[in-house]
């Protein structure tokens, strides 16, 4: 990423979208909208001082909403370009309230709230589409109850939970536990606030709230407005503290998730959604299970799938290693339903095809290996570029020329063309670049073709 950011021949237009293209192979004019960042690219050094001071918390899309980031943010810690961006939907200043703290904090005075979208024209010889894919939304599968059971997460959410730079710093806290901890934090804040109010009363009347409350209940300070307020405040405070303690006791029993279930083909090989196989989810689940085991040696994982497809170089050995060394068992069978048992533990009901029995098992967490779905914006992009999509809305290509699209001069690589894993995407990227160079070279007038 760093090399792309610094390479002299690469002009990186981040936070920008293609709006229109004209011309044909080797001679395209592309209109690009550079969305307003409200931060001057050439001044911002990416030091992050502004993000520290920004008061507004926003759900962090990079961490699948599991953590929070600030209204002025860098998509992720080492993101390139390091120029920060202000989120216009959440920034107080931009939605009309008063703030501007980031502007005061920034010593490189790179913040500019009146920055506008800029439209620029590019003259290019070839276009390569590398628009990637979206993660399939498993809430479309009712029987997996993805939204209702908090401990059922998607593979990408699990990846973030396990990542050292993720919301839990790699500590595999169960989402249900994190929700309780968040509630505890909220209650602590309210308890502190109500305590401050009580302190004011206590100072005013030089009497402890507890003692006062007994007398009040005994009918001593009847119908005095101020005392009544004090008593109600105290009763409210007691309620908060009580729920706080019960939650804290509950939190003692929380432990890292140890029994993991990985459900394969969620949305893939499924006539209701995507009949194809997404190719990388089996390997991704095996990797996640091995890393989870490295983090917590008592972790036991079960991977439910019809075929566990480890087809790349060294993948079958990796799958075998997972089985032998990382407590992973492969269960051949499709999961019918997930229900919630006691203690927020999801219960998985499945058909064990080798035993020809329907079984169910309780787990601490369930991870859904979601399908590789075409990006939502691909229809628009296809219209703009005029390229054909296949029946699954990936860019149409044919096996003999795997990176050419239906429009000469426009090429595709990676998951925008069809679901594939990293090694293949990297290889296809080079081939798309090669094809583009070939096409541009062919279109040069004869005399320039002689190469030294």
């Amino acid at each position: 990423m760093l090399d792309v950011g610094r390479h002299p021949n690469i002009e990186l237009l981040a936070y920008s979208e293609v709006e229109k293209i004209e011309g044909q192979a080797a001679d395209f004019r592309v209109t690009v909208r550079r969305k307003a960042r409200y931060v001057e690219e050439d001044k911002c050094t990416g030091c992050g001082a502004c993000a520290e001071k920004c008061p507004t918390d926003v759900p962090d899309a990079f961490n699948e909403g599991l953590g929070t980031r600030k209204a002025i943010y860098n998509y992720f810690a080492q993101g390139i370009p390091s120029t920060h961006t202000i989120d216009a939907d959440y920034c107080r200043q931009l939605i009309g309230k008063k703030c501007g703290i980031c502007e005061k904090t920034c010593q490189a005075d790179a913040i500019n709230f009146d920055q506008e979208d800029r439209i620029i024209q590019l003259d290019v010889g070839a276009i390569i589409v590398a628009a990637g894919y979206d993660v399939f939304d498993p809430s479309l599968i009712p029987e997996y109850r993805y939204k209702e059971i908090s401990n059922v997460v998607t593979a990408i959410e699990f990846e973030r939970l396990l990542s050292a730079s993720g919301p839990t710093g790699g500590h595999l806290d169960r989402p249900s536990d994190r929700a309780v901890q968040a509630e505890i934090a909220e209650l602590e804040k309210r308890a502190k606030k109500s305590q401050r109010a009580l302190d004011k009363f206590e100072k005013k009347y030089e009497e402890g709230s507890g003692k006062f409350y007994e007398n009040y209940k005994a009918g001593q300070y009847k119908d005095d407005e101020d005392y009544k307020k004090w008593a109600d405040k105290y009763a409210g405070h007691l309620a908060i503290v009580e729920t706080l303690n019960t939650l804290k006791r509950k939190a003692e029993t929380f432990a890292v998730a140890k029994r993991l279930a990985f459900i394969q083909c969620v949305g893939s090989r499924d006539f209701r959604f995507y009949p194809f196989c997404s190719g990388y989810c089996c390997m991704h689940s095996i990797k996640e299970a091995i890393i989870a085991h490295e983090h917590e040696p008592e972790t036991q994982s079960t991977i439910f799938g019809m075929d566990i497809r480890a087809v790349g170089k060294g993948f079958e050995e990796y799958k075998a290693r997972g089985g032998n060394k990382s407590e992973i068992s492969y269960m051949r069978g499709r999961v019918a339903e997930i229900t919630e048992g006691s203690g927020n533990n999801p219960i998985v009901t499945y058909e064990n095809t080798l035993e020809r029995k329907v079984e169910s098992q309780e787990f601490d967490m369930v991870i859904l290996a979601t399908a590789c779905a075409p990006t939502k914006a691909v229809f628009e992009l296809a219209k703009i570029l005029g390229i054909e999509l296949d029946k699954y809305n990936f860019v149409k290509t044919n096996p003999q020329s795997p990176v050419d699209t239906s429009v000469p001069g426009i090429f595709v690589c990676g998951c925008a063309g069809s679901p594939m894993d990293v090694p293949e995407s990297v290889a296809q990227a080079s081939s798309a670049a090669g094809r583009a160079a070939e096409m541009v070279f062919q279109s040069q007038p004869e005399k320039e073709k002689a190469v030294a």
């Binding site: 196989c277 190719g279 790349g312 060294g314 095809t353 679901p419 293949e424």
Partner: protein, 564 residues
């Protein structure tokens, strides 16, 4: 390397505030006073943001006005801004390698926020170590080596031909060496290609024609490479052709030698007549299938995913399903069953073909590797893992899906070109995920089944990709290497023991005859400067530019001597 016999060393130390990221947690005043008192330091300056335009011009001004011959910037991590500062030093007329960065932000102020005093002491030590090392730095020039604009491609299968055409179509000189007397490789023996069921010969013949007639491609069939010397940009290759040995120079080399099909001797009673491999099945199709065949049983994972060949050969499932469909198309009433462990029909097209095959009535029976099927005279007994009972399928023909294994001359090529092969004999790529088409040693590239079994779509994509990777040095005409490389510091001490040559992961060392007898010679261009040769050399003869032993010793002594 000229030794700097204490020529007047004038060091400039630029301490960065990085807004409040450093200044907020360290005592900048103390740091700059401390730096001023260090040996050879003639200028200490603090700036708000060293990496901003203003900061850079401050540094340049400092170099010119104070005639500095060493520069230190104490700021963030060199991994991001070192190139920026090096180029700024060069613009101010100072050799970019007389520059050293000291990390007092990511590894100091940011991680010792509550310990201002200890953090400042640490920063002082790090600056003193930087100054001690900088005093001994020597100027370096980037190493340029021009590239012979010609590519050698070994292997004329679909992948090799695609790569050759891609490079030739971009105007580069290509030499294609094919061992057989005809191009096409494996595809010559394949009948039809899934999933579009086109004829293999249509695709291959088209490509062969294009290759043979292409003005920029020189083709040698029944030829093979038997010796190779040199490194990226300057390879001297001996090609043994029907008309004698040809010595040709090349800039880059592509390996597209493909793979061969494993013959399952002794497995399931293989006899090549009634019990055949998928490849022999392809020949049956070409000859025309005997319409009398009523029952065919295919067995997957024959000789693969076991101890000797633990890998899944990726393409045998697709081939089996394709052939099964072709049988059903030609003889609709034939009964075809496939005994499988996992149907590896990954991706969009394969899964579609897999569904079509079931629609055409092909039966899939899951077998447990611990209880493999038994092939008898005219039927196959198998324990159906999913139904939990023994079955017997009549079989006029049994087709064994065997894996692709490494080409038998892969080991020979790997020794000639000094590139590694993995435990299964396939060539070992630079990085499994990020550099799948390169080798660790620059200048040699890899595509197709020589890397790992690949279907047509992947072989073509990898051929194009490897050609694109190979075109980078060709298009630049020269290769620039950062001069942080190994060099023979003490020629007399070297006894040419060859220990370093064996250890070097990049094949960047060789033993050469010199006036003083045999000595180690460093191939500048191939060396990555990791330093394991210098650290291992029994005679301490080798050293690494910019990280010389004495520079590191100076830094160690400087670090230790500081205040507790």
């Amino acid at each position: 390397m000229p030794d700097m016999k204490d020529e007047d060393i004038r060091i400039g130390v630029f301490i960065c505030h990085c807004g409040s990221n450093i200044a907020g947690y360290l005592d900048m005043e103390e740091l700059s006073e401390y730096a001023e008192k260090l040996p050879h330091v003639t200028l200490v300056q603090r700036n708000l943001y060293s990496c901003s335009e203003a900061g850079i011009s401050e540094i340049k001004k400092g170099i010119m006005e104070h005639d500095l011959n060493r520069v230190i910037v104490a700021s963030c991590t060199p991994r991001t801004h070192e190139p920026l500062f090096r180029s700024s030093c060069a613009e101010a007329g100072l050799n970019p390698f007389l520059f050293e960065m000291v990390n007092i932000r990511d590894q100091c102020s940011w991680v010792h926020m509550q310990e201002r005093e200890d953090g400042t002491n640490k920063a002082k030590d790090q600056i003193r170590m930087g100054v001690a090392k900088a005093a001994l730095l020597e100027p370096q020039e980037p190493i340029m080596s021009d590239v012979q604009i010609r590519a050698l491609i070994i292997g004329g299968g679909i992948s090799g031909m695609t790569a050759a055409l891609s490079l030739a179509n971009r105007g580069y000189e290509v030499v294609l060496v094919e061992k057989e007397n005809k191009l096409g490789g494996m595809l010559n023996r394949v009948n039809k290609l899934g999933p579009t069921m086109t004829d293999a010969s249509d695709l291959v013949d088209g490509k062969i024609l294009e290759v043979t007639e292409h003005p920029h491609i020189t083709l040698f069939t029944s030829a093979k490479v038997n010796a190779a010397q040199g490194f990226i940009g300057k390879y001297q290759i001996d090609i043994e052709t029907e008309s004698g040995i040809k010595k040709i120079d090349f800039g880059v080399i592509l390996i597209a030698t493909g793979a061969s099909v494993y013959t399952p001797e002794g497995l399931y009673g293989y006899d090549g007549q009634r019990i055949i491999t998928q490849l022999e099945m392809e020949r049956l199709f070409k000859k025309g299938l005997d319409p009398g065949i009523k029952n065919i049983v295919m067995i997957q994972c024959v000789g693969s995913r076991n101890e000797d060949r633990p890998y899944c050969s990726r393409i045998c499932c697709q081939t089996a399903v394709k052939n099964a469909i072709l049988v059903k198309d030609q003889i609709p009433e034939a009964k075809v069953s496939i005994l499988y462990r996992d149907m590896q029909m990954y991706g969009v097209e394969n899964e579609e073909m897999f569904r079509d095959s079931r629609a055409k009535g092909i039966r899939y029976i899951n077998y447990d590797p611990a209880r493999p099927p038994e092939v008898e005279s005219n039927h196959v007994r198998v324990y159906h893992a999913l139904l939990g009972r023994e079955m017997s399928l009549s079989a006029d023909l049994v087709v064994l899906s065997t894996p692709l294994i490494a080409h038998e001359d892969a080991t020979e090529i790997s020794q000639i070109l000094r590139v590694p092969i993995d435990e299964n004999g396939f060539f070992l790529e630079g990085h499994v995920k990020l550099r799948p088409l390169d080798f660790a040693t620059d200048g040699i590239f890899l595509c197709g089944s020589a890397h790992f079994p690949a279907n047509i779509r992947e072989a073509v994509a990898q051929g194009l990709g490897a050609a694109s990777r190979a075109s980078i040095p060709l298009s630049q005409g020269s290769v620039v290497v950062e001069p942080i490389i190994s060099f023979l510091a003490n020629e007399d001490a070297c006894i040419a023991c060859g220990l370093c040559v064996a250890l070097c992961p990049y094949g960047a060392l060789e033993i050469q005859k010199t006036a003083k007898g045999e000595k180690v010679h460093v191939i500048d261009v191939a060396c990555k400067g990791c330093g394991c040769c210098a650290a291992a050399c029994p005679q301490n003869a080798l050293d690494i530019n910019h990280f010389r032993d004495r520079q590191i010793f100076a830094a160690i002594e400087a670090g230790g001597a500081g205040a507790r």
